[in-house]
């Protein structure tokens, strides 16, 4: 029996190299597939992707499996540590609200803010940057000078100012963060566009009579996506941090809605008597930020043309 398996093994190992060689000879890999393979070879990035997916699934579906609601009060368990029988997996706060549900609901908000605000900055940045780079000359220098001026403004404080005037709404946070983060995106896209528009495929497109709009849309923007995606991935943790920062200070997400920043602020006040209150949101936030940073770094290594 053993001998048979060993025999099979040697046969298999003799077969495998041939197959790989044949594979390589036949199938060519597109740059995106190569980048994907490089990313999969990066252990930290793969672990981060898996963890992040788990966190996201937990945040989206987790609250459905708990008997408690976001703002329901358990009068028998106020400020109790994690306890499985009463289904308070992360414990309760001093008002008797379940922290498992509140942490996960907070995660929904944080992840949603991260994705939406990044998407806003992604769209504005790509459109603005590609137009500035493609137009060139005076238009370009005026548009980029405007970005330079905005860059020097202390934006964090303007966002806080906005919350003072327009009240503290979550939509304001989306818009404000997206409006700040597009600046770097626009610079990256513009730099890429400047070099791309000199390339012969753009010239060929122009010769065939393609309009400026379709050249930008079909030829310029798809080719700027590599560095832009890397930057976007690194923007998500910044945005999540920004939202938690505002919520921590009491200027972001408001009660009864929850957010990691709000929960950390509440927990920090009762840290000595109830350390579990600060621990669960803090760990979730830290793990999410770590994962996003590692994925961003991994993507940069995978997509960076310098390494090719």
């Amino acid at each position: 029996m053993l001998g048979l398996i060993q025999g099979l093994n040697t046969k298999m190992s003799a077969l495998i190299p041939n197959e790989i060689i044949a594979d390589n000879a036949v199938v060519g890999l597109s740059p995106w597939q190569q980048a994907w393979r490089r990313l999969l070879n990066n252990k930290a990035a793969v672990v981060s992707i898996v963890l992040l997916v788990i966190i996201a699934v937990l945040c989206i579906f987790g609250p459905l499996f708990s008997p408690w609601e976001l703002d329901s009060v358990d009068w028998d368990n106020m400020g109790t540590p994690p306890h499985l029988q009463s289904h308070h997996y992360f414990g309760t706060d001093s008002n008797g609200r379940d922290l498992f549900v509140r942490t996960l609901e907070g995660g929904r908000i944080s992840l949603m803010v991260g994705l939406l605000a990044t998407a806003v900055s992604f769209i504005i940045g790509i459109i603005y940057g590609s137009i500035a780079g493609y137009a060139g000359g005076k238009t370009d220098s005026i548009m980029m000078r405007f970005v330079d001026v905005l860059y020097a403004l202390p934006f964090m404080f303007f966002v806080i100012l906005l919350t003072v005037y327009f009240g503290r709404s979550i939509w304001l946070i989306f818009i404000a963060i997206g409006a700040v983060e597009w600046l770097t995106m626009a610079r990256i896209v513009r730099g890429q566009t400047l070099s791309l528009k000199q390339r012969s495929f753009v010239e060929a497109a122009r010769v065939t009579g393609a309009s400026h709009y379709s050249i930008i849309k079909r030829h310029i923007i798809p080719n700027t996506l590599g560095p832009v995606i890397v930057y976007a991935t690194l923007t998500v943790p910044q945005v999540i941090l920004f939202e938690s920062f505002l919520s921590f200070l009491g200027l972001g997400v408001q009660e009864p809605m929850s957010s990691w920043g709000v929960l950390i602020a509440e927990g920090a006040q009762q840290m000595e008597s109830a350390p579990w209150m600060v621990l669960s949101p803090a760990i979730m936030l830290a793990v999410t930020l770590f994962c996003l940073n590692f994925i961003g770094d991994g993507l940069r290594d995978a997509l960076d043309p310098k390494d090719r």
């Binding site: 806080i160 927990g267 920090a268 936030l285 940073n293």
Partner: protein, 304 residues
Amino acid sequence: MLSYFAKRIASSIPTLFIIITIAFFMIRLAPGGPFDSERPVPAEIAANLEKVYHLNDPLPVQYGYYLLNVLKGDFGPSFKYHDFTVSELIAQGFPVSIQLGLLAILLSLMIGVLLGVIAALRQNSAIDYLVMGLAMTGITIPNFVMAPILILLFGVFWGLLPTSGWGELKHMVLPVIVLSLPQIATVARMTRASLIETLNMPYIRTAKAKGLPTRLILSRHASRATLLPILSWLGPATAAIITGSVVVETIFGLPGIGRHFINGALNRDYTLVMGVVVFYGFLIILMNLLVDLLYAWLDPRIKY
């Protein structure tokens, strides 16, 4: 060189101007005026007040007065703190904030450069990975998470340091550490990358080839080229430390500008919030300007 200095100074003026203009129009658009309190002021007094604050003049004239006042350093009276002008509140908080900020910058520079050099000299070793892993942690964990953790450890469990209060050196230890941790991490990463790049330069190879010990190569040949990029860190670091000080002053209960700012934002104290924003904006622009000028002055490879 001089013309570059002049140009650079001139280019930072529009930014400041934009900040002041936004500030002015936000005050005007804000719902509710300083005299709309629960108890109405007698009509004659209201008229007098409006005259003093030029509220009856057209908007451009009011804007002119505001600009003039801000240039004189007068941000108007606070909406919520009676008997205080915004400038007085800023002046009160400034010594606390500037001490914290300067100490944090100094600490980040010293420890960050040290860690970066150690990591770069032992590139891809266990020590390198350890330092860079710690740096990643420092950058990732936000200050409002780090502060409670440190308070819990040093203040509550071990009872080594006070968790709030102001006046003695021991009160500054935890706030300064919380403020500088992300900056230490940033400086360490920058130093490492910059030193590795410098050590690959031909002139360093020459120095090695003629038999100089590593210590001398680092101090005589590599130090300037390595440390110059770190200078440019000072600009963003100022902005980051100012933002961080808002959190740190709130958590540790320190009487700095950051706490006034947050209280102002929570109480809708428009003039205070506005004054602090203009003041912070001025500080950040000034720091960026100084860094650029220093850079041009120190780096002989840059010609203007």
